[in-house]
């Protein structure tokens, strides 16, 4: 086994570019998944089954099919329908949509964990439904689910390399490009492998600190 430090230092500038794109995709994907997941969770609580049913089926479908194929779908089919987006935007939408079907379950659990007394108190105070949700239920529910949402951010981080297949140059994309140009595979791939472990470990430490502050 030969380890070439020159290849590592040659790859580093590309690595930082890739890291930036990865973090961008992660941040935007998280925002989309948090918002869309909340929308799904709220729609699943509407009284009519004509809303609950389609939302349930769609989210179940998205959750149980590979993100990779969903990305292909968005990347090749949207232009046919006349929607042209950059590769990164497509990827962010794909990843956000995929993970919104997970965060939706997290929100649901959080909403169900709010004690029934809170609902009854809101009814007793004659609060309108929208206000009940906005100032009573959601603040309590979301506070509880932040750690669980954080877990999905870390899971999302580890799915960002898939954006490579739709030509986004994130960390893995940069590593592959560099490997093919210089014919050195070991160093770039190992560097990003270690980078993923380090980033997800740091993120988990951050998450635990956040959990301690919010939950206790």
């Amino acid at each position: 086994m030969k380890w070439d430090w020159d290849a590592v230092s040659g790859f580093m500038p590309h690595f930082w570019d890739g890291l930036l794109v990865t973090l961008q995709a992660l941040a935007l994907g998280s925002v989309i998944s948090f918002l869309l997941g909340l929308v799904w969770a709220l729609l699943m609580r509407t009284p009519t089954r004509w809303v609950r049913w389609p939302v349930g089926v769609i989210t179940e479908f998205v959750r149980n099919t590979p993100l990779l194929v969903q990305l292909f779908f968005l990347f090749y089919v949207l232009p046919e329908w006349g929607v042209t987006l950059s590769a990164l935007t497509t990827g962010v939408i794909g990843i956000g949509l995929h993970y919104s079907t997970y965060t939706m379950q997290v929100y649901r659990a959080g909403i169900e964990a709010v004690p029934a007394g809170q609902w009854e108190a809101a009814t007793a105070l004659n609060l309108p439904v929208a206000r009940t949700w906005r100032v009573v239920i959601l603040p309590q529910a979301i506070r509880r689910v932040v750690p669980a949402l954080g877990n999905y951010v870390i899971a999302m981080l580890k799915d960002t390399p898939m954006l490579m297949v739709i030509t986004v140059l994130e960390m893995l994309g940069q590593a592959r490009l560099y490997s093919q140009e210089h014919f050195q595979f070991t160093e770039p791939l190992t560097v990003i492998g270690v980078a993923f472990i380090v980033i997800s470990y740091l993120a988990s430490l951050l998450l635990r600190a956040l959990e301690r502050r919010l939950v206790h």
Partner: protein, 241 residues
Amino acid sequence: MTSGLWELVLKGIWTTVQLLVFSALLGAAVAFVAGVARTHRLWIVRFLAGLYTEVFRGTSALVMIFWVFFVLPIAFGWQLVPMWAGTLALGLTYGAYGSEIVRGALKAVDPAQQEGGIALSFTPWQRMRLILLPQAVPEMIPPFSNLLIELLKGTALVSVMGMGDLAFSGNLVRLALQESAEIYSYLLVIYFVIAFLLTRLMRGLEKKLKAGVGKAPQREVSAHELKRAETTGVGAAGGAS
């Protein structure tokens, strides 16, 4: 679609199913070994098992696949057949998630059971085999079911390496026909059907195993209760707490 193209898709389904079965078997074996090792009394065994879990959960499955396909042959001179390379990468990655499920389920067994085993002077191995595992395994099935779906979704990743699985043959068909919307919809539906069948299968298994220890299956399989933050996030929707 012509019959030739359908044949291509069928071959892709077969490859995906094979890869799924092999990597699920490897993953389950690794998960049990690492999960049980996490409860070992020697700290070095616990540490090594924990290190494996953290490293393989911490990195991305796709990066792992690239590593096995490109670095392993150069660095160690092991040129694996694509099927085995894919199995190795997926099995080790998802096995690491599985080991957390095994560990959680073992920890959730009532400590009195363990103490009863000690009082009856069972050896540690007998306690594990006759007391802990028979009670813990049925509890592992719902989270394992979720993990299996994640693994199914993970198998699509090997298409990036040019392995002829379902996603790869779908891409070939798309190149031939130029009808992206239709082809990718078919692909998604096929994956969904496989996932659905797997869920049913696992639910049947859960029922059978729980009947063996006198319990009723869980009503809802999806993870309801809140979980605390895990060290490196979840690849599976429901890790055991």
